[in-house]
Symmetry: C2
Subunit: 336 residues, 2 copies
């Protein structure tokens, strides 16, 4: 693989974009020229890459014919504004925003449905799913053969970093303020986030579901290749800076052997299995790591057709930036 590629990263100054650039360097991705792009407010700053500071430029002034592959790591509106332009210029696109329709940009997690890449036409257009769908798909993929899976019920306890840097500062500021007995003043969050859990992440529709929850249901079914899977989901906001945790309960059509489940998880790609006398946490284990941690593997209290799991995952790395780079690594096995 001596070929190298001109790469563009849209949203290079965001939490995911910055880590994505870092991961391209860490994994020695064959980058020829790296074009870092952002909105006009963030353009002009610079991001380190291979010992140099790369200047961030305005995305709406970029000539996409200069890149072969573009990562969209900004919000859905940015993807919708520029992805078509990028493809028209011949670029392959990897979108992390969830903005593109499934029939135009399949959701792919290499450990679960990476084989789908082989059937796609160039220039490629693929989606890296939400952090929650990615983490769940990595862990459920090796169990699909073993379990007759009927329903996944998940409470996703999400870190504030998924909401960007303002949310991170707000949690720190609120916490400091409360510990110093100052009255609470809310800015980014609309109520106390420190030492509290918020039941809702985002704005609900008329049925009471927030976009993240609907996205998780759709993406998980697609990535697992199980369109009929029942998925019950609640996304909550935890007072955690980095790292998502998932309380997962699976219902199976028949009793399952725990030893076989543990063996499949231990052998699973992209998974760190934690044995029953310990358990992983977001902060203590998952943050900064490329794998999804899984522990507390157990039956129901008196139901062996129920399987319970606890997952911890770095929402910015495996949940987003790393999965996107892994997709790119698979794409460049064929010439772009």
């Amino acid at each position: 693989m001596n070929q190298s590629f001109d790469i563009a990263v849209v949203g290079a100054t965001g939490t995911v974009g910055e880590i994505l650039v870092q991961i391209l360097e860490e994994r020695d991705f064959p980058v020829a020229n790296l074009h870092l792009l952002a909105s006009s407010e963030s353009a002009g700053s610079s991001v380190p890459f291979r010992g140099k500071n790369v200047r961030v430029r305005e995305v709406d002034e970029f000539d996409f014919s200069k890149a072969k592959l573009v990562f969209f790591a900004a919000g859905p509106a940015v993807t919708l504004s520029f992805a078509a332009k990028a493809r028209a210029a011949g670029c392959s696109v990897i979108d992390l925003s969830g903005a593109l329709p499934a029939d135009q940009a399949p959701q792919i997690v290499p450990e679960s449905n990476g084989h789908l890449l082989a059937g796609l036409a160039q220039p490629f257009q693929i989606s890296s799913p939400s952090p929650s769908a990615t983490a769940l798909a990595v862990v459920l993929a090796p169990l699909r053969q073993l379990l007759d899976l009927q329903r996944v019920t998940v409470t996703a306890c999400l870190a504030v970093s998924a909401q960007g840097r303002e949310a991170v500062s707000e949690l720190a500021r609120q916490t400091t303020s409360l510990l110093n007995m100052h009255p609470l003043e809310t800015r980014f969050f609309d109520r106390q986030m420190a030492f509290n859990l918020l039941a809702q992440v985002g704005k609900p529709d008329e049925q009471g579901h927030v976009p993240l929850e609907k996205r998780l249901v759709t993406e998980l079914r697609e990535v697992l290749g199980m369109p009929g899977l029942k998925v019950s989901v609640t996304c909550i906001q935890a007072p955690v800076f980095f790292g998502d945790s998932y309380s997962v309960s699976l219902q199976l059509a028949a009793p399952v052997d725990l030893q076989a489940v543990n063996a499949a998880l231990e052998a699973g790609e992209g998974i760190e299995w934690v044995e029953a006398d310990d358990y992983p946490t977001a902060v203590g284990d998952a943050v900064g790591q490329d794998v999804v941690y899984v522990g507390r593997v157990r039956h129901g209290v008196d139901d062996s057709s129920e399987l319970n799991l606890w997952l911890a995952s770095d929402n910015v790395r495996k949940g987003a930036a790393l999965n996107a780079v892994q997709l790119a690594e698979l794409l460049i096995k064929d010439p772009l």
Copy 2:
């Protein structure tokens, strides 16, 4: 009701015991003499009641014939050591520790199965269930008629105060230390609790279940009077000082009408129903309150036989001390 009663509180210096004494005063419970009891380490301190400081005495030196009703608000070992002695002396017993077998001390939540009190023999011996079973029972009780309930899946996000005062100080100390960039030193918890979620509360058995989880399954079935109900449960420790939150997913045998559910919850005893454009939180709503808050009432994303709820409850008040006092209020309607 001009009669008043001699009351003893075992565990009077603990988080639950102290609030229990406060609630006896708040609700003007007809107390003649109040005997506050604790282990030898805590004896000698005093607890305020009706404008006086009541001295806490050693439980093992107490003559139980001086009381008509005893609250056991300490650990299971203390109940097991003294409950039989109290009953032998003619006392009615309300246990909050979960130590007594179900056939000797039924688990009762007034809003759900308070009618069972009428069938009990004197002196009474009853159990106030765990905070989690109590909160869930209060909210599910008015839905029993409406729903053909098959399964309850719950992730209980528990406050550190349930583990006592040391746990509360430890969360504050860890948080301060981390915000000041000091290295983390763990004492009460075995790992970082600040800005993190712990997947397990207590020591698991060989099947991986912790006592709290097993207790919740058993108690919820008993209190709802639904012995065949499937209950999937995960108890996690949240970095929250006071107030428990519950992510609850119900599976029903048939689609349910949300309006009817909302109406039943709004009318339910001991419940504060929060409408869909808002949601309750433990810290912002439940703490210090006598009701269990319920919000985010919604179907599954594409399944109207699924009902999702978010609960917030004061783990020390309605979850423990208040429920016990409410039981006592019902008991004294008949002479003790």
